[in-house]
Symmetry: C2
Subunit: 403 residues, 2 copies
């Protein structure tokens, strides 16, 4: 087995558990949060600094790397760990989600997806086999199945992601199909493609392939998918097709329904989620792994996470504010409490505002580091809370989790 | 005295010397190269990483900080060292050069300069008194006199800087004056303004004010300026008004003429210079301090300095190149040889090219770090070469210096 998962503690009041996943490039503690390095870099951050946030595993997107610099170039440069300058575990997605949501979709058929490259407009074809071949060439420790990922049909209204014009285009296209038929087809296709992914996997000795449960917001479809997907023996499984615009309640409803049905002794990964409350709800449902662009994307936009909620550092009220993002010493990130012994003190909110107002890269860098550390502190506290079974204490410490 | 300068070694074959300057925030070795943090940040780099390049003193631009966030805000945030997160020595220029070269110049008169802010279009007035007051509020260890800095009249043709449309505008304006009359006036005004700067200096106890020698490319004017400027007793002196478009030979000619006439036992600072050969020529003329945006600006543009000359990392020939910028282990920068013990290896040229082609911030960050380290390695070798008086060896090690 390329991946070993040990469960260390279980919550007595929920499905939450702590554990540790071992991969060929080292181990990570669960529940785990994975920073996203879409194109092979967690934007603006030296890998050393990513590690300093406490991250133990990071994620890269096959879709982007497929187009540029291409998997064969990554392989020629020594593989994804060398490209990213990251010695620890890496997970790649299959490219499927981005092929659906980011590209002009030319055709989805029973064999795969054809789309136009956002880099040069050329036609690109992804199939279960080619998506796995790409990930085999990249060389991540955990790779994801290529799935059919239609937009959720039960999202009550377009959320922030569905408001993305690219996804809206796909939504309009799918609106011309019968949505339920589309969901059933996708669900069934995902299972067939999963078997093809497993059969095509050329590095099962050192890359762990995870299957992905689909089914949208339809709980019966989720049950069908979890039974069929998890019937194919793999080192881990993910919940896909959430965080595509649903409300937090809808996310939690699907996750609470799905996660407990997934194999007990294998890691469960909720893809693309999310805010603090989404993560906590999923952890309590028994999810072990998370990834999300929120800390870095919001950091680049001057939005800093704090336990009391996000603050917008471009706000004029911070102009002369000499306090760090989180006053009182609670945060030990590179902005609030630099590790460098030479540092004359924290970077103040006033300094960070100045950097953003001036367009200086250091602003996005520092707030990304703060936000990534915030999410890792959240995960550390979640793991401690599971061990101590102290959810009331957790709720007091993290009001932003809205428990 | 706020600043102490000790000369340690002298070259027997030139005017070069090594030494050490002590300031209230620590010391730096000379000849020294100062990275530029225009708006309070060396672009894209945590101060810890700037220190790791070997930099001991950095520079910020009063002109930019005057407009945003303003010196009073910097003071409210704890001063420039806190804003920049830099515990060591800092030097600020007076804002004069940028007021001339970057702004629509409304009026220069015997009292100062009036220009439009590039931030919000408002009218800004700089006088010797206000330029010093701004620098007193910022709080750098070394501050610069406010001088009248007309474009060089002897530059044989517009170089890369004079090709800047903003400077070209000033050049066109000055072309309507008699250039020699303008130079004489500027030279005389610079001396009068220097005395006003000294009289206005409110923090002589902890900020060292440097005078600036002007005179363009006219060696007689340089002699006149050096005599008059250095007649005003100050802790150090600079050579201004070079690196505004002249050829390397013209820079070297002015510096060789001027530097030896400056006080022997005070630091000599050549402002805004430059390439390796310019620095080496100036060191041999007896200059002790340098600043230039070249390493960071070129780094952001994917141009990496090497002893054999710059390489352009966007070049397609580097796409599959697994070697670091400087193969063979000669360079110990964060790109060629990361300090982080976890790092799986250097960042390859292929990786760097990918980061630039993808628009990832990490490309500019890594090549800026490489270039800054390159310049610091150059300075370390210059100091060793002075001590050992081994210029032939230096010329072999740094062919880019063109000796």
């Amino acid at each position: 087995m390329t991946l070993r998962f040990a469960i260390h503690h279980r919550s007595t009041s929920s499905g939450a558990r702590t554990g540790r996943v071992e991969t060929p490039h080292g181990a990570f503690d669960t529940p785990a949060f994975m920073p996203v390095g879409t194109r092979g870099s967690v934007k603006g951050l030296l890998p050393e600094l990513v590690a300093r946030t406490g991250a133990q595993i990071i994620l890269a997107n096959t879709y982007h790397l497929l187009l540029r610099p291409t998997p064969s170039t990554v392989a020629a440069l020594g593989g994804l760990h060398r490209l990213m300058g990251w010695p620890g575990p890496i997970l790649t997605d299959s490219g499927g989600y981005q092929a659906y949501s980011m590209a002009d979709l030319n055709a989805v058929d029973d064999d795969g997806v054809t789309f136009r490259s956002i880099v040069d407009g050329s036609e690109v074809r992804l199939t279960p086999e080619s998506a796995i071949a790409a990930q085999n060439a990249l060389g991540a420790d955990i790779i994801m199945a290529f799935d059919d990922c239609p937009p959720s049909i039960a999202a009550p209204e377009p959320g922030p992601i569905a408001a993305d014009p690219r996804l809206a285009r796909v939504l309009r296209r799918d609106a011309q199909l019968d949505p339920r038929a589309r969901l059933l087809l996708a669900n069934e296709r995902t299972v067939r493609w999963l078997q093809r992914c497993k059969d095509a996997h050329g590095r099962a000795h050192d890359q762990a392939l995870f299957g992905i449960v689909q089914g949208g917001a339809d709980l019966d479809q989720r049950t069908w998918s979890v039974l069929r997907v998890c019937d194919i023996d793999l080192p881990g499984y993910a919940i896909g097709g959430v965080a595509v615009g649903e409300s937090p309640d809808d996310i939690a409803r699907v996750v609470r329904h799905t996660a407990p049905q997934m194999p007990e002794h294998k890691p469960r990964y909720l893809m693309g989620v999310g805010y603090e409350r989404d993560i906590v709800a999923a952890v309590r449902a028994g999810v072990d792994m998370f990834d999300c662009v929120l800390p870095t994307r919001n950091g680049r936009n001057a939005n800093a996470f704090t336990p009391a909620g996000q603050i917008r550092l471009r706000n004029a009220r911070f102009a002369d504010d000499p306090e760090p993002i989180e006053p009182g010493g609670a945060c030990d990130c590179e902005a609030c409490r630099p590790v460098w012994t030479g540092a004359p003190g924290p970077f103040s909110r006033g300094t960070l505002r100045h950097l953003f107002m001036s367009g200086e890269m250091l602003g996005p860098i520092l707030v990304s580091l703060h936000n990534l550390r915030y999410f890792q502190r959240l995960m550390v506290d979640i793991r401690r809370t599971i061990r101590d079974d102290d959810w009331p204490g957790f709720a007091r410490r993290w009001p932003a989790a809205g428990m």
